[in-house]
Symmetry: C2
């Protein structure tokens, strides 16, 4: 059988090794030879099969991206940033989604243990699970996004949840609101906890006390925002002056219920969120903006640096920014 490579060798009058050198930009090739080879490569439209290279160099030059969180624009934004950086470095991304915590194990073994990729970026997975137990045996760089896991020796990229919580709370306080209700995420949720701490710190600094029974835990979903709002209305208790939802999805859910009840935002009640998701602008929602794009970029940079055996910072914090719209009363 006459492969394309053989044809190229014949045409260029050289061996396969030289063709390989030319295609890999080796400096050890005479200019005239290089030109002959490139001409032959073009003529026969020769493209090296990557599997051969993979086998030889023991690398796939592919980065996997694993995520449970695909319902919102968040994932998509991170992915786009990650893709851009991977692209620059001739790397590819492979995506995989866990369809629930039970799936993690299966995914990890398929992706990590099969060594189908060189490094792994993990989005928002609970790395404190048993999977982490043998992280040292993975023998593969893993970067965590949104779940700092420094104590495990896993570099991570996260956002400044504390500062974000602080500044949005501070803004509401500056409006003069004192009776502020908080819709948090699950108690054990990393983002929720840190955002909450930021809020409480801001309240403390302003000499405002947040009543414990004004803190309501939800699930960071639109539906749970709806539920919390509905419960608050049903309780018959006086409404707070403002609601601070620790993510936009819950804020959106709450706004939906208020709209249905004929209550106006911010007329009857101010609202603020956290995330600055796609809908925030059209809803006029005051919120905290995070560059998800940037998170993806930093994550891939960390992964690539680790692959190159460079020193990598253990933890990159991407800054947040308050975006003031009308829902807070501005």
């Amino acid at each position: 059988m006459t492969s394309a490579l053989e044809s190229v060798c014949r045409e260029a009058g050289c061996s396969a090794a030289t063709v390989s050198r030319v295609l890999n930009d080796s400096p050890l090739v005479k200019e005239s030879t290089r030109e002959r080879v490139l001409a032959a490569v073009t003529k026969y439209d020769y493209r090296p099969a990557p599997a051969g290279r993979w086998l030889r160099v023991q690398r796939t030059e592919t980065i996997g991206i694993l995520s449970p969180n695909v319902g919102s624009g968040f994932f998509t934004d991170v992915l786009l940033g990650a893709d851009a950086v991977a692209m620059e470095h001739q790397y590819h991304l492979m995506t995989a989604f866990s369809h629930g915590p039970e799936d993690h194990q299966k995914l990890f073994s398929r992706i990590i243990h099969q060594r189908r990729v060189d490094a792994l970026v993990v989005l928002d997975l609970d790395l404190h699970s048993h999977l982490l137990a043998d992280s040292s045996r993975w023998d593969m760089p893993v970067v965590s996004v949104c779940r700092p896991a420094v104590e495990r020796g896993i570099p991570s990229v996260s956002i400044d949840n504390h500062a974000g919580g602080y500044s949005v709370m501070q803004h509401l306080l500056e409006h003069g609101y004192r009776d502020i209700a908080l819709f948090t995420g699950p108690d054990n949720n990393y983002d929720s906890r840190h955002r909450l701490e930021g809020c409480l710190a801001a309240a403390r600094n302003a000499g405002a006390d947040l009543a414990e029974d004004r803190i309501h835990a939800g699930w960071f979903t639109m539906k749970s925002g709806k539920n919390l709002m509905q419960q608050m209305l049903d309780s018959g208790r006086k409404l707070p002056e403002a609601i601070l939802a620790l993510n936009d999805a819950m804020a959106m859910g709450a706004m939906g219920v208020l709209r249905e009840q004929g209550l106006s935002v911010p007329g009857d009640l101010a609202i603020a969120g956290f995330d600055d998701n796609e809908a925030a602008d059209s809803l006029g929602l005051t919120t905290i903006q995070v560059s998800h794009n940037r998170m993806g970029e930093e994550a891939v940079r960390l992964a690539l640096a680790a692959l190159a055996n460079e020193e990598v910072p253990q933890h990159i914090v991407v800054p947040t920014r308050l975006v003031v719209r009308r829902s807070c009363g501005c």
Copy 2:
């Protein structure tokens, strides 16, 4: 060097060939041997390196997914459906994004010509570009999502834009609205054209004529929805009774402007969209729902079928559904 495979062979007292047979579920292995091998595999945690397999079988068992459209939940939904089906069949997805039309060429050559994947699902790319010229030479199954390319011999998955346009328009007409403005996408946009045709058909059937100067072309972005709405207000012309935006993003933009101007929806003006995106529910937007998930699933099914040399349908149309909320006046 003592590889994990050698250890397994020694432990199980057999050759590498038998280990391979066991791991590939070959029926030609005695049960007792199989058990010994599996035990050894577990003991040494042996996992075949895929690169060797890829090289041997000339397949990567990976499906690439290529998309320019990552700003909304749409992409994410399709990806999730695609992932689920790929997963079932032990396939992986590799993602790549074109950052503008100039990029397509580069991406195609990296992904298709390098044969890094076995098949390619292309989202929403303009396949009528010059890239299609040599589609027959790709020698790789390509499935198009959102851009039927039957005439090119490329199977595709798309939504029933015509029926969707028809039913949402019909609904507005049933409300009694006659002066209806349309916000369309770019004139050359496939979805926009077909949705528009559906709308016009519905109007025709109802004996309602749509004035040409009530049809405004935008860019399917929130911003362009804002602009069109603002222009309409600035023109001083009497507002229409309803606005039908041919995607939700533009409807959201329009609603944002109306809110700023103190106009109420549907009080002063009814609005409907198309897509049923994430924010549609909280905005109370009447719209057309499409199962993006399903599109991803069908696309991967088509790709896998083509890889198995099965007969594949040339065109799968995913149905749409009218979702009635409050913005239309219901």
